[in-house]
């Protein structure tokens, strides 16, 4: 088994509806029932983000996300699955893939 993080990138043009949150609830449940979900969470919007950097021992705090991108990080799952293909299968089932995208990254095993 191998751990992957699915990073959920949303289309900023798309306003989430009640329907979308129901879809997220469904996929979370499906993952949990398959026994392959380690954790997962949704994030609040980028207008709530604060970015911290330390340069020359000085703490720099700025409003907003670390980089302006076309798609924004909206949440993540960490799954424990046999291989990349299974992780990609889950990624393809995420409710946002029709508009945004899902990045699949293996978790560094310490």
């Amino acid at each position: 088994m191998a751990k992957y993080m699915l990073l959920i990138y949303l289309d900023p043009e798309h306003t989430p509806s009640e329907e979308t949150s129901a879809e997220w609830g469904k996929i979370s449940q499906e993952l949990a029932q398959a026994g392959q979900m380690l954790e997962g969470a949704g994030l609040q919007g980028i207008d709530t983000a604060t970015t911290v950097r330390v340069r020359d021992h000085e703490r720099l705090v700025t409003d907003g996300p670390f980089a302006e991108t076309r798609e924004l990080l909206g949440g993540y799952y960490v799954v424990d699955v046999p291989d990349l293909d299974v992780a990609l299968d889950w990624a393809a089932k995420m409710p946002n893939v029709g508009r945004g995208s899902v990045e699949v990254r293996p978790v560094l095993e310490m």
Binding site: A2, Y4, P82, D83, L84, D85, A87, L88, P106, E109
Partner: protein
């Protein structure tokens, strides 16, 4: 030739021919670690170069390589403690080494062949297309990194790094070593065929440099397409691609003249075409068509077959070719296909009709530097009698071309 050189040749040939199969099986015994399997095989190659000249070429080189590579893999596993699943792989290999039966044949896909697993791993969509091509040539074709680098006109270290990175991704990202399940098979097979098609095209229509054809890539594509068509027995498109490559490559001997000059299809000496390849390609196409699942490769092969069976350019069934391009455009629309359809229409219905097909493409800005488009445009204009306009179009084609032989040919046509 000295005895040593002969033995070195034998080593090279054995590893070329049997290395990929040895690698494919060893990778399975290693739990899918193709990178480690490849390293171990390279160690075995070095061993062979050191010992075969002294001890002679083994009676069964494949068996010798299997044992040598397995021992080297055990050495590496003992040394490399960071290896995941190290204990499991070591145990399995030591058991095999002791002569115990191989009980590790757990099938998930429909086909039982390690080389298929290797192909699907090398052509996994999680790898960049150029990495898929490089890995396929390296692991399945048994080409050296230097050979691949030369074929793609990139520096050795660049190609070496590309391969190392791809191997690292296979291991780190957990790309599985297996034949995809039935439901994913059509899509994944299409990916494999694309890689082979890329290899062939790069060889046949070299995009840069001084040589028009890089024969080593064509030969390799031919060999791998035959292997894949054989392994995926009932895949019509795999057979279609094999047919296409054979039917196209059959013309290679007539495509460049003694002076290295490009010879266009209508001027080629058809006696120089490889009749054996034409026959083999035609047979593969017939097999593919019998499966009743048409596709783009089969259509392209059917077009190539029309050219191959025509006694000369004039007696080519251009109407049939234009119709086949029409079917192809319906299945997989692309400007390249439309250009070819315009050429075929130009021969079957006259240059004016061809120019009408070409008109919308000339408006498309993305095709502003598309050499075949401007070359076809120029040829049609010349045949329609517009010599000044034709010269302009040739100029645009010459300007866009990056291949010196192709440029020379365009200049010749412009002057003629």
């Amino acid at each position: 030739m000295t005895a040593d050189a002969t033995t070195a040749d034998a080593v090279g040939r054995a590893f070329r021919e049997e290395g990929p199969a040895v690698l494919a099986t060893l990778a399975r015994h290693l739990g899918g670690d193709v990178g480690l399997a490849e390293d171990a095989l390279q160690d075995a190659l070095a061993d062979a170069l050191a010992t075969w000249p002294r001890d002679g070429v083994p009676e069964r080189p494949g068996a010798w390589m299997t044992t040598a590579a397995r021992r080297r893999a055990i050495d590496r596993l003992r040394r490399e403690r960071s290896q995941t699943n190290r204990a499991v792989a070591l145990e399995r290999l030591t058991r095999l080494e002791a002569g115990a039966a191989d009980e590790y044949i757990e099938e998930e896909g429909p086909v039982q062949d390690d080389r298929l697993r290797l192909i699907f791993t090398c052509c996994h969509p999680a790898l960049a297309p150029e990495a898929q091509v490089a890995l396929t040539l390296r692991m399945l074709g048994g080409l050296s990194t230097a050979e691949i680098a030369r074929a793609f006109l990139v520096a050795d270290p660049t190609m070496a790094q590309r391969i190392v990175r791809a191997k690292r991704k296979i291991a780190a990202a957990g790309i599985p070593y297996r034949v995809p399940r039935e439901s994913d098979l059509p899509e994944r097979t299409a990916g494999v065929l694309t890689v082979l098609y890329l290899v062939f095209n790069e060889g046949y229509q070299a995009t840069g440099g001084e040589r028009l054809v890089r024969a080593e890539l064509c030969d390799e594509a031919l060999r791998l397409a035959a292997l894949v068509a054989d392994l995926l027995r009932d895949d019509a498109e795999a057979l279609g691609l094999l047919a296409l490559i054979r039917l196209t490559h059959a013309r290679a001997p007539a495509r460049v003249d003694a002076a290295g000059r490009y010879v266009p299809l209508d001027e080629q000496d058809r006696d120089r075409w490889d009749a054996g390849l034409v026959a083999a390609g035609t047979a593969a196409l017939a097999l593919a068509l019998r499966l009743g699942r048409p596709g783009p490769y089969q259509l392209q092969a059917a077009i190539a077959a029309e050219h191959d069976r025509a006694p000369d350019a004039e007696h080519t069934d251009w109407a049939r070719i234009a119709a086949l391009y029409g079917e192809l455009a319906a299945l997989a629309p692309s400007p390249v296909i439309e250009v070819n359809r315009a050429v075929a229409v130009g021969f079957s219905e006259g240059p004016q009709a061809g120019l009408i097909v070409l008109a919308p493409l000339l408006e498309d800005r993305r095709l502003a530097h598309h050499v075949p488009l401007h070359a076809a445009h120029a040829d049609l204009l010349r045949r329609a009698g517009g010599s000044a306009a034709a010269r302009n179009a040739y100029d645009r084609a010459i300007e866009a071309s990056t291949n010196s032989i192709e440029r020379a040919e365009l200049q010749r046509r412009r002057a003629g």
